[in-house]
């Protein structure tokens, strides 16, 4: 009878495990929750984090306020029920995604079926539960659990556990996390120091206890001796307990000296750990910040081309990061006021640090070394073909190679300059016009005007627009639907939504045209 029941339970559990495991909505929900809680690249995580931080701070504030002031009932309810409930839900969710219980059960079951062995539920379940337990005893999970406890009102003492909510902040504030991480790199030194401190404190405590137990009315047991020893060694010296005998004072002097030495040693260890890591932390911040943007440039190499690129006015609108292998150049870039990090863009791990899936990434290969540029191009394209690559090539001969590597645009600075020079020599008067157009000078700025949904241009024929009145020249229209560029279009061409007009004129003229063709000012802020 009992055996039959056990069998039924077993088959019921595995049935549900399989069902959950195969359900796409279950897996989807799990992924969404995991992304929200753990993926720093998730844009919503920031909101969630801010929300939790707000709950924590308000809860702690209520605790402090309560000491001296009466708290309105609704605030009390908010603290007890709402905050705790949110924390409880968060705890359960974290426990849920910490390991995949149903997945493991199913895997075990399938393995058993595959080899023809009888499936035993309990050992498999035990292993899964053990994993959950392993998560529950991690410091972070314990803090989370304790932070829920203050909700239990009958025990007033539990109120102090609100402070664990403060500790919860650890998870949500990166700087504290990084602080701990930095200290962890010096674990050996710090542990050695702690051991030494422990040893010296204990020695001093025992000495003072043995020597002054009879004479000093303040030292009555070993605990008081240890308390005195620690207060002295850390150079705090409250003075509530002081040595009275000569021998006691001698001991005090020795442990004060040792204390000063140890504290300065500890300080230097921590400072050196930070100065080693600070650089890295800063770079990480830059990378994280850029990863949150929707579109950004990775500029490889800080040379003359990059400098010129930034000198031009349009550069202000980009999100970018500069990578260079040479620390000196990076220093120069930082000195010039740009975000730059020391890293080798030709390495896979370097480019993988960036949020390539979520953002539109463009890599600019600005080095004058073709081999390096091609390598970076290949590297970027091998990580994700969607990464746009604009590369600089030294000679026309090598352009084919760049194209084969997958570069989207290849620049030939030398050739462009030579072509311009020939123009300047053969057609000196025209050169000025062409130069103005190519370098985008104000008088002849090429600009694109998008016919968007709020534009008054929709349905209007090209001939009906008086470009001359705007001091603009219409060069062509990119037809959205046909996907084709019409140079010097016929008057009869009708503009549709999504079309782009290519016009030339002064900046003020283009902006004026853009504004006046817009029906809804707020929406056309582009």
């Amino acid at each position: 009878m009992a055996k039959g029941l056990k069998k039924r339970i077993e088959s019921w559990v595995i049935h549900w495990a399989i069902r959950l495991h195969r359900s796409s909505s279950y897996r989807h929900a799990r992924k969404v929750i995991r992304d929200l809680l753990e993926d720093p690249k998730n844009p919503y995580k920031r909101f969630f984090d801010s929300f939790i931080i707000f709950l924590i701070l308000s809860s702690v504030f209520i605790l402090i306020w309560e000491v001296k002031h009466p708290v309105p009932k609704w605030l009390d309810y908010y603290d007890i029920y709402f905050v705790s409930l949110v924390f409880l839900i968060e705890y359960i969710l974290r426990l849920w995604i910490s390991s995949d219980l149903s997945g493991e059960l199913v895997e075990e079951y399938e393995r058993a079926v595959a080899v023809g062995r009888e499936f035993r539920l309990w050992p498999a379940l035990g292993r899964g539960v053990k994993k959950k337990l392993a998560y529950m005893v991690t410091p972070a999970a314990i803090i989370d659990l304790l932070a829920i406890l203050p909700a239990y009102r009958p025990l007033r003492v539990l109120r102090i556990f609100v402070l664990f909510r403060f500790l919860k902040l650890l998870r949500y504030t990166r700087s504290i996390n990084q602080f701990v991480e930095v200290l962890a790199t010096k674990r050996f030194e710090l542990l050695t120091l702690l051991g030494l401190l422990f040893f010296v404190t204990l020695t001093g405590a025992i000495a003072i206890y043995v020597l002054e137990d009879m004479h000093n009315p303040n030292i009555n047991n070993l605990f008081e001796a240890i308390y005195w020893s620690l207060v002295t060694i850390t150079t705090v010296g409250y003075g509530d307990i002081a040595p009275v005998s000569e021998m006691g004072r001698l001991i005090a002097m020795i442990i004060i000296l040792l204390g000063v030495a140890m504290i300065s040693f500890a300080t230097s260890v921590i400072v050196s750990a930070f100065s080693e890591k600070l650089h890295e932390l800063k770079e990480e911040r830059i990378v994280e910040r850029i990863n949150r943007t929707a579109e950004f440039l990775i500029i490889c190499g800080y040379g003359q081309m990059t400098k010129m690129f930034f000198r031009q006015a349009e550069a202000k609108r980009y999100n970018y990061i500069i990578l260079d292998k040479d620390p000196q150049r990076v220093q120069e870039a930082i000195h010039d006021g740009y975000d730059a990090i020391v890293d080798d863009a030709s390495r896979h791990t370097t480019l993988s640090r960036f949020n390539i899936k979520g953002s539109k990434v463009t890599v600019l290969c600005m080095s004058h070394d073709d081999v390096e540029n091609i390598y970076i191009t290949l590297n970027a394209k091998s990580i994700d073909p969607r990464i746009r690559v604009i590369a600089r090539a030294s000679t026309p001969k090598i352009v084919k190679k760049y194209e084969r590597a997958g570069a989207d645009h290849v620049l030939l600075p030398n050739q462009a300059a030579s072509t311009m020079m020939v123009f300047a020599i053969l057609k000196p008067i025209m050169y000025k016009a062409i130069h103005a157009i190519f370098t985008g000078q104000n008088v002849a700025l090429l600009d694109e005007i998008q016919v968007h949904e709020h534009s008054s241009l929709i349905g209007v024929s090209v001939g009906a627009i008086d470009f001359r009145a705007y001091h603009l020249i219409l060069l062509g229209v990119q037809k959205h639907r046909e996907g084709r560029f019409l140079f010097n279009p016929d008057d009869s061409v009708i503009l549709e939504e999504g079309d782009i007009l290519l016009v030339m004129g002064q900046k003020a003229s283009t902006s004026y045209f853009r504004e006046s063709s817009c029906l809804d000012e707020k929406r056309c802020a582009r």
Binding site: Y318, P413, Q415, M421, M430, K432, E448, G476, M504
Partner: protein, 238 residues
């Protein structure tokens, strides 16, 4: 108009090579001056240029002996930036009337070349940086500009002199419908103002006279047809 002027090209290196060859293709008179022997022999072997000279460009006496006329153009495209600046400085002192052009391939050199006396400095980085900005922000403008540069260019610029007796004579600019001819009027060259180019986008108002030079963009065949049509009637094509 420009073909009879002589061009002194200093340097047959990374820029000089392509410039020299393109100039030769346009049948310009090119005198090539190079200070490096290997480059000099290469240029000589090609044999496309009117004269090829081997010369130490830091030597003012040798430079002074060049038979430079007033409207010759001096083009400095030495590989070495410092040498280029030095050369411009020497040439300016020797030939104060001539037009000196130079390529700058470093940010710092552009201003120095100008100060040394170059009339025109082509800044390699500035051109390329603008192109990157265009690629990033204005894909259509980029494609349009590339249409000019490619060997089998789609569109080109053309200077057109208004011939005697043309129907355009005496007309105001805004009265002429250039688009009907498939060309785009960009601006004109003001001969009185020292051959300067004026963009129509500056709000140019002008009555066209015989001898004016207008500048248009268009497909080559459209430009040809337009040029035919503006000559006095009777010779109209088709």
């Amino acid at each position: 108009m420009t073909a009879t002027k002589r061009i002194y090209l200093f340097g047959y290196g990374k820029f000089g090579r392509s410039i020299a060859e393109e100039l030769a293709e346009h049948e310009a008179e090119v005198v090539l001056i190079e200070s490096k022997e290997s480059h000099f022999h290469e240029a000589r072997k090609l044999g496309k240029f009117q004269r090829t000279l081997l010369m130490d460009v830091t030597d003012d006496d040798a430079l002074g002996e060049l038979p430079v006329r007033m409207d010759d153009q001096l083009v400095c495209v030495m590989d070495d930036d410092h040498l280029n600046v030095f050369l411009v400085l020497s040439l300016r002192a020797l030939f104060p009337e001539s037009k000196i052009l130079a390529i700058s391939d470093s940010i710092h050199a552009t201003r120095k070349l100008k100060m040394a006396g170059a009339n025109k400095v082509i800044d390699l980085y500035s051109i390329s940086a603008t192109r990157i900005h265009n690629i990033l922000n204005k894909p259509i403008a980029t494609r349009f500009l590339e249409g000019f540069l490619e060997a089998e260019h789609e569109y080109s610029f053309r200077e057109i002199v208004i011939p005697e007796g043309s129907f355009l004579h005496g007309k105001k600019l805004e009265e002429v419908d250039f688009r009907r001819y498939g060309v785009i009027f960009v601006g004109m060259i003001d001969v009185e103002l020292g051959n300067s180019f004026i963009f129509v986008t500056t709000g140019l108002e002008h009555k066209i006279d015989t001898g004016d030079i207008i500048v248009c963009i268009g497909h080559d065949e459209d430009l040809d047809r337009f040029e035919h049509e503006i000559v006095p009637s009777g010779e109209e094509p088709q």
